[in-house]
């Protein structure tokens, strides 16, 4: 089982490496969207500091969603998804491998670059740390929930828009507590409660999302 997960992970990372452009695109999108706000709103430090958590989190959410269309659809088109369903390994494990590689390719780069972007908004050091931690806990939740949406809309016409409609409402709690944790640190009330709740979401998504995605994939294959 672990071996199969390793192979799926290896396969998807190799594919992502061969198509580096896709990974870079999402990251550049994130950087540009976040950078547009200070330019558009103006250089007033207190205003920027107030809006920073929301802007960074919304941009991360959208960047994460950009790559969801590529999670299952290419495999569906070339028939490799069929083979995964027939692999003789639990489909849940293979889905976990795919979600993990999606996060490594789309979530983790955002976590790493976010503190740098936070500087544009004059965020203090402790808020930058909390921003990183909240993204580290929150982006895997986005990948997990996104996988369910991507699996449900597999093979449907106009699936790109449909994924957004399905998944964005489910991202709302993550957004609220993710941005809230950074805001709370800046306000000096401490971010622990927010981060614990984010951790709770992650645990819940880890338990439910792979099963839901696997079931949706089976339905999509019918």
């Amino acid at each position: 089982m672990i071996r199969a997960l390793g192979w799926v992970l290896r396969r998807d990372l190799l594919l992502a490496f061969r198509r580096r452009g896709d990974v870079v695109n999402a990251l550049v999108f994130f950087v540009i969207v976040v950078s547009l706000f200070p330019l558009g709103v103006g250089p007033e430090a207190s205003q920027l500091r107030n809006m920073a958590p929301g802007v960074l989190w919304v941009a991360a959410l959208l960047a994460c969603m950009l790559s969801l269309a590529r999670l299952f659809a290419p495999d569906h088109q070339d028939g490799t998804l069929e083979q995964m369903l027939l692999a003789g390994e639990p489909l849940v494990v293979l889905v976990m491998g795919k979600v993990l590689s999606h996060w490594l390719m789309s979530g983790l780069p955002l976590v790493l670059i976010a503190p740098l972007l936070g500087l544009q908004f004059d965020l203090p050091a402790d808020a930058l740390v909390v921003l990183c931690v909240s993204l580290l806990i929150g982006t895997p939740v986005l990948s997990l929930i996104g996988a369910v949406g991507a699996a449900l809309t597999l093979g449907v016409r106009g699936s790109g828009v449909l994924v957004a409609l399905l998944v964005l409402p489910l991202f709302v709690p993550v957004l609220i507590f993710g941005a809230g944790s950074v805001g709370a640190t800046a306000a000096g009330t401490g971010a622990e409660a927010h981060l614990l709740l984010l951790g709770g979401f992650l645990a819940l998504a880890l338990v439910l999302a792979p099963w839901a995605s696997a079931a949706a994939l089976r339905i999509a294959m019918e």
Binding site: R11, D78, G79, E82, L86, M221
Partner: protein, 214 residues
């Protein structure tokens, strides 16, 4: 033993075939015949467990395949009309991943011998996107050479895009699989030159809904 009991397949509101029963034992080859659109691919997908039949059931060694999906999957190799190759991976990598997911050892020596069997060993390090249609088919079929121990082979139009040499090689491979007690299900428009204990034939045209209404 694979046994089908009164299978029926409905796509949308069109009934493709119904009341289809057969049983397939070790050493037997089942050739699914029928006109275009008669449901050959649908039948094969039902036999893989990818699609559930709208009525009837399939039994593997006496047990319904839905009950033990993963166990059943380990007992079959399916090569569909899509070759299941990733364009950005090399032929060798594609084959390794397919073998690994099928629970086979994935060392490159074995993979190369499989590719060699179908005359595509020289393409091993090329990305699949630069291969010709026939070469891609050969790489997909090379999986069969690696999985002789898997009893049930389900092949959708395996001979399409192959040249004469590859057709002969595939027929030889099928014959040796059947001789060692394996089972083969395939759809093809060509006549198959395979020596087998028995070649069964299911003609979907005889099970089509239109005929039964008449």
């Amino acid at each position: 033993m694979l046994e089908a009991r009164r299978l029926e397949c409905t796509r949308g509101d069109r009934r493709l075939f119904s009341d289809l029963s057969f049983s397939l034992n070790g050493g037997q080859l089942l050739r699914v015949a029928g006109a275009n659109g008669s449901g050959k691919t649908s039948l094969l997908r039902i036999m893989c467990g990818l699609v559930s039949p709208s009525a009837g059931e399939l039994r593997w060694q006496g047990r319904p395949i839905r009950a033990e999906r993963e166990e059943y999957s380990r007992n079959l190799v399916f090569i569909g009309h899509l070759n299941a190759l990733k364009d950005d991976l090399t032929a060798l990598e594609n084959l390794q991943i397919a073998a690994a997911l099928g629970g086979m050892p994935a060392d490159s020596g074995r993979m190369l011998s499989g590719l060699d069997r179908f005359g595509v060993a020289h393409c091993a390090e090329l990305p699949a996107k630069v291969l010709s249609q026939g070469q891609r088919r050969r790489v997909a079929l090379a999986r069969l050479a690696l999985t002789p121990a898997v009893p049930l082979w389900i092949l959708d139009e395996p001979f399409s895009a192959l040249d004469v040499g590859a057709v002969v090689e595939l027929e030889r491979l099928l014959a040796s699989h059947l001789a060692s007690g394996g089972m083969v299900v395939l759809t093809t428009h060509q006549e198959v030159q395979v020596v087998a204990h028995a070649i069964l034939r299911v003609d979907l045209d005889l099970h089509s809904a239109a005929l039964q209404a008449a």
